[in-house]
Amino acid sequence: MVVGADRPGIVAGIASKLAENNANIIDISQTVVRGIFAMVMVVDISQCKVSLAELRRQLQEKGKELGVEVQAYHEEVFRYMERV
C-alpha cells in the first residue's frame, strides 16, 4: 500500500518498479484515509525475481523518490488477521 500526497506519477512509478521485478499487479484501489491519499495494490509475486523483503526495499526506495510511504505485506498477514 502507498500512502502520501496525491500527485501524478505515483502509480506509474510503483507499477514500473513492480514490472521490473516481474511482479504482476492483480488489483488497484484508491481511497482517502484521514484526508491522506492511499493506494492499495494486490500483487502476485509468484514469478517475482526477488524476495518480498528485497521488493519491499526497492519499492520503499522508489516511494522516497515519489514522496510517498510504501509498505508491502504478505497476503497471509491479511488472511490471518481479517478472516476467521
Binding site: V33, V42, V77, F78, E82
Partner: protein, 224 residues
C-alpha cells in the same frame, strides 16, 4: 479484491501506528550433550551451538522480512544449568553463564535463558550451586536469564528454595536490586517461580525429556 481497502488499511494501521508486532520467537535447545566432567570440555561442546544460533537468527529474520512484521526479540532457552553443575564446581557456574552470554552477543540473540534450577523437592548439588551463584552469574551478564522453581503440585512448596535466594540479598523483584555494570547494562532478570512447568525460563522454552536428538548430540557422535 479478496480484501477491501479498508481491511488492508486497518491491518497496516495496527502494524505501523499501534505497534502490533511479534514480541518474541524462542528456540529451545536441548544442550545436555554438552555435559562433561570439566569446564573446559563443557564450553567446547557448547561452542557447537553457534551453528544452530546462526540458522535460527537467519530463519527469524527471513520470516520477519517475508511478512513485513517486526519480531522484537529472539530468545534461546538451553537446558537448565543445574544439570551441568551436578558434576562441576560452584565457580564453574558463572563461567558457563558468561560463555552463554558471549554466544548470545556474538549471534545477536537478545536473551538466553537457562541459569535455572528446580528446587521444589529439596536441593541437588547442582541446584544449590545455581542458587549460590545466581547473583554473580546474572550480574556479570546482560542477556542471560534464569529461574528457580521453588514449588510444584506434586512436592508442594519448598520454603528452603525461597529462603536460600532471599538470603543472597535478592528481593522479590530482583531486577530492581541486581547491579548495573559500568555501561548501565542490567542483568536480564530472574523469577522465583512456583508450580512452574519444566522450563529453563522463557515461555515456550520447555525442557522436555526425550524427543529427537539434537544436532549437538549428533555432532558428538561423529567426534567419537
Amino acid at each position: 479484491m479478496r480484501y477491501t481497502a479498508e481491511e488492508i488499511i486497518e491491518v497496516h494501521r495496527m502494524l505501523s501506528e499501534e505497534q502490533l508486532d511479534i514480541r518474541s520467537v524462542t528456540l529451545s535447545v536441548n544442550t545436555l550433550f554438552a555435559i562433561a566432567g570439566n569446564l573446559e570440555a563443557t564450553l567446547k561442546r557448547l561452542e557447537s551451538l553457534g551453528g544452530t544460533l546462526e540458522r535460527f537468527v537467519k530463519a527469524v529474520d527471513e520470516v520477519s522480512g517475508k511478512y513485513g512484521i517486526r519480531i522484537v526479540t529472539k530468545r534461546v532457552a538451553v537446558s537448565p544449568i543445574q544439570f551441568f553443575l551436578e558434576s562441576l564446581s560452584e565457580e564453574d557456574g558463572p563461567e558457563i553463564a558468561e560463555f552463554l552470554d558471549g554466544l548470545a552477543q556474538e549471534y545477536k540473540i537478545d536473551y538466553v535463558s537457562g541459569y535455572s534450577a528446580f528446587a521444589d523437592r529439596g536441593f541437588t548439588n547442582g541446584a544449590l550451586r545455581v542458587i549460590k551463584t545466581f547473583a554473580e552469574a546474572l550480574n556479570s551478564t546482560s542477556r542471560l536469564t534464569g529461574m528457580i522453581n521453588a514449588a510444584s503440585t506434586v512436592a508442594g512448596y519448598e520454603l528452603r528454595g525461597d529462603k536460600a535466594l532471599r538470603g543472597r540479598g535478592l528481593p522479590d523483584a530482583p531486577d530492581l536490586l541486581l547491579q548495573s555494570d559500568d555501561n548501565g547494562q542490567r542483568p536480564a532478570g530472574l523469577p522465583l517461580r512456583t508450580f512452574g512447568p519444566p522450563r529453563p525460563r522463557d515461555a515456550g522454552g520447555d525442557h522436555k525429556r526425550g524427543g529427537e536428538r539434537s544436532r549437538g548430540h549428533r555432532e558428538r557422535d561423529k567426534e567419537e
